[in-house]
């Protein structure tokens, strides 16, 4: 057991190792990969590019990890990104100031999260189904806001959120890091993280233990909605416009993949925010690597599918029962089990 415990205390070490391996592979196909230069007060280079482009998915991953930890899933994050982006672009075009724009678009994300949370916690609809509603309808709502057009805007303040920099670091990376720290503080500096894990492991037992499970579930979906809205605003700020059809399209899949690669079980329970974020950058690292190596970007999907399958198979219960009996310490723990 001590071995397992030691392994668990290094939760996330695997993900960091994989990220390093992916980055090294990128360096092998593209020798200038680690070259970073400072120009006009901002860092440039392939490595920075991975971080910058991976930030929106990293933000989605933060919310998704917590939702998945409660045993749920949120399919609507891409649609919520589109809604938040549409709100931000439309308001900016109509001449609203940055504080109002940010407040309203983030509030839209919170409202979406609240809707999902209430469906799951109060109406007790399966999370896949509950969030499917907003996934389907959300893009329609976003198009309703933009009136079916690609809304563009000119606003240096808002654009700075997407393409600006803070102390030479690209703004999206700074925002993603800030949200990570905030999420870590909320879940690990308080009992909230433990409550989330408890609900994910057994909702009924948690309720009997006195946890307000409904409130915990609503809270994680609201947080997920907020993270998605932040990602949506960043993407809209980056392209200086909102495209309700394509903003955040299929990013829910990337976010789920990042959570799985990050080692959080889709069945809920124990979660790791930092490893999941590393997972998001692993995915972006692979995307960039495929582009740099001169392969067609079409291979991206195949590589993603292969990685997701390998990770899933290794995590699966059947794989564990197959491989665990080979560990002598565990065999003693289960004298009744016959080795297949």
């Amino acid at each position: 057991m001590t071995m397992i415990r030691t392994l668990r205390s290094f939760h996330g070490a695997t993900q960091v190792a994989v990220l390093l391996a992916v980055l090294l592979a990128n360096w092998l196909v593209f020798p200038g990969f680690f070259a970073i230069r400072l120009q006009d007060g901002r860092l440039f280079g392939s490595l920075i590019d991975v971080l910058n482009r991976g930030s929106p998915v990293a933000l989605l991953t933060l919310g998704m990890t917590l939702v998945i930890a409660t045993g749920g899933i949120d399919l609507s994050v891409g649609a919520v990104m589109a809604i938040a982006g549409a709100v931000a672009a439309t308001l900016t075009r109509d001449g609203q100031g940055l504080p109002v724009v940010l407040a309203v678009s983030l509030a839209a994300g919170l409202a979406c999260g609240l809707w999902n949370g209430l469906l799951v916690a109060v109406l007790r609809i399966q999370p896949i189904v509950a969030t499917l509603i907003l996934m389907v309808a959300g893009r329609g709502i976003a198009q309703l806001i933009t009136e079916g057009q690609i809304v563009t805007f000119v606003n240096p303040q808002l654009s700075a959120l997407g393409s600006g920099e803070f102390l030479t670091v690209p703004m999206p990376v700074v925002i993603a890091l800030g949200m990570l720290v905030l999420s870590l503080l909320l879940t690990r500096a308080t009992a909230l993280g433990m409550l989330i894990e408890s609900v994910g492991i057994n909702r009924v037992a948690s309720a009997f233990a006195g946890i307000n499970t409904g409130a915990v579930i609503v809270a994680v979906y609201v947080w997920c909605g907020l993270c998605s809205a932040v990602a949506g605003v960043i993407v809209a700020a980056d392209i200086r416009g909102a495209d309700a059809n394509n903003a955040g399209l299929w990013l829910e899949m990337d976010a789920i993949l990042a959570v799985v690669v990050g080692g959080t079980s889709l069945l809920g329970g124990r979660f790791g925010l930092a490893p999941a974020i590393v997972g998001a950058f692993i995915i972006q690292g692979m995307n960039t690597g495929i582009l740099l190596s001169g392969f067609k970007p079409e291979f991206n999907l195949i590589v993603k599918a292969t990685v997701i399958m390998i990770v899933l198979l290794v995590q699966s219960p059947a794989w564990r029962t197959f491989s665990l009996p080979s560990l002598p310490s565990l065999q003693r723990k289960h004298p009744g089990r016959t080795v297949p």
């Binding site: 389907v136 329609g140 079409e298 291979f299 195949i302 899933l312 059947a318």
Partner: protein
Amino acid sequence: MNQRFLPLIATIIVFVVGYLFCALQFNHFATLRVVMNLLTDNAFIGIIAVGMTFVILSGGIDLSVGSIIAFTTVVLAVLIGSWHVNPWVAFAMVLVLGGAFGAGMGAIIHFFQLPPFIVTLSGMFLVRGLAFVISTESIPINHPLFAQLNDIVVVVPGGSHLTLIAMVMLVVLGIGTVLAHLTRFGTNVFALGGNRVSAQLMGVPIARTTISIYALSSLLAALSGIVFSLYTAAGYALAGTGVELDTIAAVVIGGTLLSGGAGHMLGSFLGVMIEGLIQTYISFDGTLSSWWTKIAIGVLLFMFIGLQRLLTVVWAAKASAPSRPASGKAAPADAAGPRPQRA
């Protein structure tokens, strides 16, 4: 009256009321031509919906169907256009490929006990990726057989006709209905969706059933791809994007319980028709934009999921009522109707 049919009845009412509403708004809506176009335009979704109904009845989900459509159309275009394979042989090849792929996903889901959601999600990535690798361009299919097949129609009164692909959908729907409701395989699927552990204890062949369900779903998705290539006369790796969601929505609107174990094949067909009706309404209206389709489907989804939830709660309350000590209050409610039974 069997209470399990309540969602199906609700679906029928929504379809009839919706159609009457459209017919009152527009002069030529209540013609056979509109009905025939509804069947033709939604044939490819109708075919997948049959497979998806089996998957959802068993408590699973299949996200890979849209990608399989794209892959099938691209493979057909390359086989027939560039390699000059006989179209019938090409059809057989994609059907076998589709079935084998689905069986593989089913096997992974069963033997590794992974959530169907994530397995079919990676299947979706894989197949879409393969389609992209074969070609990112839209490839036209100019084989004379395609024109011949599209010319096969049954003329119906009113100057319209039933196309071959609509007939294929109706045949698949018929076979699917029989398979789901009148065969042992169908019963096994319902049992699996109702309670997997109970089904296993009762001797339902879980492995065989699970693998068959996903094989069937992918096989029908490949057939749908053939129909789609007939419909568009092209192979395109971006074809069928989002179709899996439309199909799942159609099955839910059709009254199938997303947690599995209850539903009806005809409901899924009506769900597809309701989605088609919304699109037809929007094109008849001419001023509404297509995004209203998504919002309307979202609202319908919410209504039907709410209805399902309500019924599940009511059924659970009724099912647990007799096991309590008999009290005067419970008796009239029990006497009101027969016990709910599985459809």
